[in-house]
């Protein structure tokens, strides 16, 4: 799949933002007044910034409101509802904390629920796709949710929780990669099933439909970046997992904490880039590619 920067930035930063909102909604850390304002500003910048970046890949962003209509069947529509519900609820909750020094617990809990719901619905947009076997598994939502919770804990300054959650997220990331590598073969979709010519003999793509490229090849058959995939996996794992954990275990210092956050974000961005670049869409089989 084509790793579109807008979608990578959206899913990583909104994942972090909603992860932080979830922690704030649970009352961890129990901030009020100005420090609450600072935390909520960071969370909203990440979450809303991510959402705005996601509209850049739309052909007609001016019609984006129509995306709220099909929540009965579409995960993308459900994501839109969850995001708005989370932002409104957490906005009300934040208002209470910042200006009235009062904690409306129920609003916060609901806000946290919808924040994680947003991350879950985002992941289901990918996990629902049978056409991309690497994504079509329960590990995809677990991968997204664990990274969001870990990143949220990191931003919320919850050192102990962050260490544990980053460790869990890193393990789930490794599992996602290793199991994901086998998914296309396990799906049973091959050139023979795509063309139904397997009974005649071994199928080879002889001539593509056009001499040039097309939308399908640009969007679904991205092979350039796969060359360095295993190196990038190690880099991603060091940046998102090992480095932040080591830094968090050192005596606490604000500069070290900032470096831990930056390393983690860079690692998650790398992993998310690989999530797209390594994903094989079955339509590639019609072109003899994957």
């Amino acid at each position: 799949m084509h790793p579109a920067p807008s979608v990578i930035f959206f899913s990583v930063f909104s994942g972090l933002g909603f992860g932080l909102l979830a922690w704030l909604g649970l009352g961890i850390p129990a901030v009020t007044g100005f420090s609450a304002f600072a935390f909520f500003t960071i969370a909203y910048l990440l979450a809303v910034g991510g959402l705005i970046s996601s509209t850049f890949h739309l052909g007609h962003p001016e019609r984006a409101l129509k995306a709220f209509t099909q929540w009965r069947s579409s995960w993308l529509s459900r994501e839109a509802w969850c995001a708005v519900a989370a932002l409104v609820l957490m906005g009300i909750y934040g208002l209470g904390l910042v200006f009235f020094d009062s904690r409306w617990t129920l609003v916060g809990l609901l806000g946290a629920l919808f924040s994680l719901g947003t991350v879950f619905t985002t992941s289901m947009i990918y996990a629902q796709l049978k056409t991309v076997p690497r994504w079509h598994m329960p590990l995809t939502p677990l991968n997204f949710l664990s990274l969001s919770l870990a990143g949220g804990a990191l931003l919320a300054g919850q050192v102990q929780s962050a260490v544990v959650l980053i460790l869990i997220a890193a393990c789930l990331q490794i599992a996602t990669w290793l199991i994901g590598d086998k998914r296309l073969a396990q799906s049973g979709t091959t050139m023979a099933s795509a063309t139904q010519l397997g009974d005649v003999g071994t199928v080879r793509a002889f001539e593509p439909p056009h001499t040039g490229t097309n939308y399908l090849l640009r969007e679904f058959v991205h092979v350039i970046g796969r060359k360095h995939a295993s190196k990038l996996r190690i880099i991603a794992l060091i940046l998102m997992g090992i480095l932040p954990i080591v830094l968090l275990l050192l005596p606490f210092n604000h500069i070290i904490a900032v470096i831990a956050v930056l390393a983690h974000v860079a690692g998650v961005l790398t992993a998310r880039w690989l999530f797209f670049a390594q994903a094989e869409h079955v339509v590639g089989l019609y072109y003899g590619k994957r």
Partner: protein
């Protein structure tokens, strides 16, 4: 509504004969022509006369080389367009309701004025049947020429999809695959028509007729094995040359 109908009154679709298709791409051209000049946004091209041309097509013809265990390889031309699936995954993923499957005839369509161009339906389609138009930024797909098949301004013979009308080899057939007595259903039954990627669970309406088995070359004469074999060794000057070269 992007939920799928429980059932459709008709299942209009195509039957494509891989035995007959000659790979001329006439269906590709006629499809592009009709669907550029008629219903919906035109199918644009980018850099059509330049170094890197590409464009939107609703129908594309692949060619495959198939090597049997024994005998010569076969070249099979393979037209591919929307299969108007019964369980169309492209419809249910649509967040705006722009994609829908019609209850009356099962045709899968896009309401272009509702399409936000998110591309998710193209991701959900295993067949590559949907393409985002780079000029209009909306999703384009085969309409089964919905503006031809019911068009009473056209002579009756033209009330079939443009690709079917054009095919010079008669490799494309159009009809109601929900009616077991229709010509297309009978053809599918007779020739063992198949679904593409059945494991994807999309239940395509369009069917593909596999190529018929090739004839084996007949023995020329029952006495042929008893005939004196033709001498393969060269004689005369070539024979001398052959031997001389062997010795070097």
């Amino acid at each position: 509504m992007t939920t799928l109908p429980q059932s459709t009154d008709k299942k209009l679709g195509l039957v494509i004969d891989l035995d007959t298709c000659v790979g001329c791409h006439a269906c590709v051209i006629s499809c592009k022509g009709w669907n550029t000049e008629n219903y919906g946004a035109p199918l644009s091209d980018q850099d059509p006369y330049g170094a890197d041309p590409s464009g939107t097509f609703l129908n594309r013809v692949h060619s495959y080389e198939v090597q049997p265990e024994q005998g010569a390889a076969q070249l099979i031309h393979f037209p591919k367009s929307c299969l108007h699936c019964e369980d169309a995954p492209c419809v249910t993923v649509c967040p705006t309701g722009a994609s829908y499957k019609r209850v009356e005839d099962g045709i899968v369509l896009v309401n272009e004025s509702d399409c936000i161009g998110c591309g998710l339906c193209a991701w959900a389609c295993p067949y590559g049947a949907r393409e985002m138009d780079q000029e209009e930024k909306v999703m384009k797909k085969c309409t089964l020429c919905v503006d031809r098949i019911y068009n009473e301004n056209l002579p009756k013979v033209d009330r079939v999809p443009s690709c079917v009308r054009t095919c010079p080899a008669g490799a494309r057939h159009f009809g109601d695959l929900g009616d077991p007595d229709s010509d297309v259903s009978q053809l599918v039954l007779e020739r063992g028509g198949v679904d593409l990627m059945p494991e994807q669970g999309t239940k395509p309406v369009n069917k593909y007729l596999p190529p018929r088995p090739k004839d084996a070359l007949p023995e020329f004469d029952v006495l042929a094995p008893f005939l004196e074999p033709v001498i393969a060794e060269p004689k005369g000057f070539l024979g001398w040359l052959d031997k001389a070269l062997e010795k070097i």
